[in-house]
């Protein structure tokens, strides 16, 4: 059970406080309700690019990092398809430094030309490092475009192409800031060795005077139901053939999400799971195989991806995966197998909650989903999943018309 208090400033900023006096540190986590899904299809990669610019100086403070480091703090940020999250951890005595820095960049950035030019290059190198100069680096660019015809999840957070970032102008940057970066679209979580009243005072002092800004109302095109299987074959300079299969699942707050999550664990949550045991160890068709899902806010996807043992025909490997899924659909699972993945979930949650930083980020994320207290109800929702629900959802999810398949073949 993770305790927190919540209050809202007059400008609409939601503030959540989680006290933990066992640590000498404090965490200040600011989540903005904007991700890659909110981008213009002609200007993709912008939310992530913007995250870089948030470190390029704000209206009153030329450099973000120096004062934080001087106060003994560390920070980082990440952008997903759904949200952008900034967090810093520093000795609790110096917490006001974080309020000062975070409130100033919520108030306004400096919009420096130099920062724009340099970060354009940095993000371009990040793009090359992770998505070009690496075997299988473009897999998710291709796969997302196959799976999503309509929803903006069809592009990755890094963006569709480098050109979109290369063409970004200072005007684009300003427009994005004023649209998304304001108290009405943010959640502030303060955690660690702090007092509620202290946080109230500091939040009023530093964030209170920031104009509310307009609440961004998201109205995204939703993905239509897929009605026929999709297939793509790619040849690339990689040493091994690889198989990718995706199925549409449910939004994060849908009750069926928990069933889908446990199904992915049954298939590949460890070395005793079905795909690893049957296809890597027994049939030896794959040298590695994994089932996961995106955990996205809007309806996400379940993924099975595997690298084939050299010499295996990819159609045979694909058929073997389908056979495993068919087995699940026809025979369901034993109660003990369900118990196993529930135990795993319980323990994974306990390990995740060990650091204050993780707890702060979780509080912010669940608040974004609607209510931070959802976090404390998760385990119950997992426990409510039954073998019947698993069997039912295996039939619904792994329907052949819901499937997209990519053969990513070695051209060597």
């Amino acid at each position: 059970m993770i305790h927190f208090d919540r209050f809202v400033l007059a400008n609409g900023l939601r503030v959540l406080v989680h006290q933990d006096v066992s640590t000498p540190m404090a965490v200040v986590n600011v989540l903005y309700d904007v991700g890659a899904r909110d981008e213009d299809p002609a200007k993709t990669g912008f939310a992530h690019f913007f995250e870089h610019l948030m470190f390029g100086g704000s209206i009153n403070i030329p450099v973000y990092d120096d004062p934080l480091q001087l106060a003994g703090g560390e920070n980082n940020a990440y952008t997903t398809n759904d949200l952008t999250n900034y967090y810093c951890q520093l000795p609790a005595e110096n917490i006001e430094t974080a309020f000062w820095l975070e409130s100033d960049r919520m108030l306004s950035l400096a919009f420096s030309k130099k920062s724009l030019e340099v970060q354009r290059k940095v993000v371009s190198e990040e793009f090359k490092e992770h998505y070009i100069n690496k075997p299988y680096g473009d897999v998710w660019h291709k796969m997302r475009e196959l799976v999503y015809t309509t929803h903006p999840y069809k592009w990755m957070t890094i963006g569709k192409e480098l050109k979109h970032i290369e063409n970004a102008t200072l005007e684009d940057v300003k427009a994005f800031f004023y649209k998304h970066y304001n108290p009405a679209n943010a959640i502030l979580v303060v955690a660690g060795n702090v007092e509620l009243q202290q946080v109230k005072n500091l939040a009023e002092k530093w964030f209170g005077p920031i104009p509310s800004g307009e609440k961004y109302n998201r109205n995204l095109p939703q993905e239509p139901v897929q009605t026929a299987p999709r297939f793509l074959e790619v040849k690339a300079n990689v040493p091994l053939d690889a198989l990718f299969k995706c199925w549409h699942i449910y939004p994060r707050t849908d009750d069926r999400y928990y069933t889908a999550d446990l199904i992915s664990d049954i298939l590949s949550g460890g070395a005793s799971s079905r795909l690893y045991q049957n296809l890597v160890k027994e049939k030896q068709l794959f040298s590695s195989i994994d089932c996961s899902h995106m955990g996205s806010t809007d309806a996400g996807i379940m993924v099975i991806e595997g690298k084939l043992v050299k010499g295996v025909n990819i159609k045979d490997a694909d058929a073997a995966v389908m056979e495993e899924l068919k087995k699940l659909q026809q025979e369901g699972i034993a109660a003990s197998e369900l118990e196993k993945v529930k135990n795993k979930t319980e323990s994974a949650m306990a390990f995740e909650d060990m650091t204050v930083m993780n707890r702060a980020a979780s509080i912010a994320m669940y608040e974004l989903l609607g209510d931070a207290d959802l976090m404390n109800k998760e385990l119950e929702k997992y426990k409510a999943v039954t073998t019947e629900k698993i069997a039912e959802q295996c039939k619904v999810i792994f329907n052949e018309n819901n499937c997209s398949t990519m053969y990513y073949l070695s051209s060597n």
Binding site: P24, L70, V118, E129, E204, P239, V309, S336, K342, A350
Partner: protein, 437 residues
């Protein structure tokens, strides 16, 4: 809050002025001491009992790292295959035994040591310890399991060899230490092919069944932890380590500049600059950690400020000291655009020169001191992190003075000392230079 008070606050805040801070450099950092007891067979157990979550981590450290193998890959494969079958359990049964209770049994192999670790909810402990005991007494290394492991390892290697950063990491280590030294050798497909179950069984016998070991246990510990661990591991034919590892001299290569083409279509180069450096027992080590932070050790470092934040040549550039027990190396590592690799190297050398010729000013030095202190303070969060610090100290044959002297070095190393250290160590002619495209 009333509007009048609100207005007053608005009038009084000046956003251009930083709020006052307590300099972290003045913090009194305490490394929570461990408790030690010995099992009946003399194996030392180090424990940290703390934390709010009902979780525990048990790490068995064996002196069974790759320094002890006579044939490449034997130590790592033996360690990996501890989970692949015992007299009474198949690999699947072992995996199920842990996974049913939501726990994780992991293993890892390093240069001097290898580990077998358990992470679990404390309440499940009794179900799991007997399985670990069995892995340490009755592993059988089945032929078929080895075949699968070899096949999959070779495939993973083939993928990795296409990554410039992987190739660069292997090569720079072989230049620094020599390709027969434990820190410098690497495995190729034919080394994997040559591994036999007989070699694994022999290694298991010498270094696990009759090996030297220590236990590091942290988290929310049950009251009878001593008895539980003694029942599980106290009767094994193991002995206590002395933490004195046999010194193996490095055989560095004489050529120092390398440009290697790995992929004709590469858009980036993996750059590694590296120079041999003594281990943690050397008096300069702790002070050099401060110099390293200024140079390239964190986001606010000079290499990051210049090469990423000013020039945009890379997504990230870092310098660090190898975390090796016997001898270390000072390394600069980055992936940069193919056309800017050579200028990136020039800029790294320029930053070395500035550190050799100019004193670090007080403002920057205070920032780095505070940052490092804050970072240690943050690192001491939770029992697992505290134990990780202790484990590093103990395995390096050091004691708590190392921690407190490191803190002292952060507080007190002067700008003059840093300049002198830069003149001693940050000399381009002492560095190997490698770019893999």
């Amino acid at each position: 809050m009333s509007t009048t008070i609100q207005n007053k606050i608005n009038q009084t805040i000046n956003r251009k002025i930083a709020p006052p801070i307590v300099d972290a450099v003045n913090f009194n950092l305490i490394l929570k001491p461990y408790k030690q007891f010995n099992l009946d067979n003399g194996i030392p157990v180090y424990t940290i009992n703390a934390g709010a979550q009902d979780v525990i981590q048990i790490e068995l450290v064996f002196f069974a790292g790759n320094s002890y193998e006579e044939q490449k890959g034997i130590a790592a494969t033996t360690n990996f295959m501890l989970k692949n079958g015992t007299k009474n359990k198949t690999a699947l049964q072992i995996n199920e035994a842990f996974e049913y209770y939501g726990s994780y049994c992991t293993r890892a192999c390093y240069n001097e040591t290898s580990t077998l670790s358990l992470h679990t909810l404390t309440k499940q402990l009794d179900h799991l310890l007997p399985v670990m005991t069995e892995m340490l007494t009755d592993s059988i290394f089945p032929e078929q399991e080895l075949d699968i492991y070899k096949q999959n390892s070779k495939q993973r290697l083939a993928v990795n060899l296409q990554k410039a950063e992987f190739v660069a990491g292997r090569l720079i280590d072989s230049y620094l230490y020599g390709d027969t030294h434990p820190y410098g050798k690497y495995t190729n497909a034919e080394d994997i092919d040559a591994i036999t179950t007989d070699a694994l069984k022999a290694f298991y016998k010498n270094y696990y069944l009759q090996g030297r070991a220590a236990l590091f246990v942290s988290g929310n510990l049950p009251v009878d932890i001593e008895k539980k661990l003694n029942d599980a591991f106290g009767k094994l034919a193991l002995s206590a380590p002395d933490y004195k590892n046999p010194f193996i001299a490095a055989t560095p290569v004489s050529e120092t500049k390398f440009r290697i083409q790995n992929d004709a279509a590469a858009v980036q180069g993996a750059i590694r600059l590296a120079s041999p450096f003594p281990n943690r027992h050397h008096p300069d080590f702790k002070k050099v950690m401060v110099l390293n932070n200024i140079f390239g050790g964190f986001f606010g470092s000079r290499l990051m400020a210049n090469i990423r934040e000013d020039k945009g040549y890379t997504y990230g550039i870092h310098s660090y000291l190898h975390n090796h027990i016997q001898q270390s190396a000072w390394v600069v590592s980055t992936e940069a655009g193919k056309d800017v690799c050579e200028v990136t190297i020039e800029e790294v050398y320029r930053e070395m020169k500035i550190l050799r010729e100019e004193l670090v000013d007080e403002e920057e030095l205070l920032l780095v001191r505070n940052y490092m202190m804050g970072s240690i303070l943050g690192d001491l969060d939770g029992p697992f992190h505290i134990m990780a610090k202790w484990k590093n100290i103990i395995l390096n044959n050091l004691d708590e003075n190392y921690f407190y002297e490191s803190v002292k070095a952060i507080r007190e190393t002067s700008a003059e000392e840093l300049k002198a250290l830069a003149n001693e160590y940050l000399l381009p002619e002492k560095f190997y230079e490698l770019v893999v495209y």
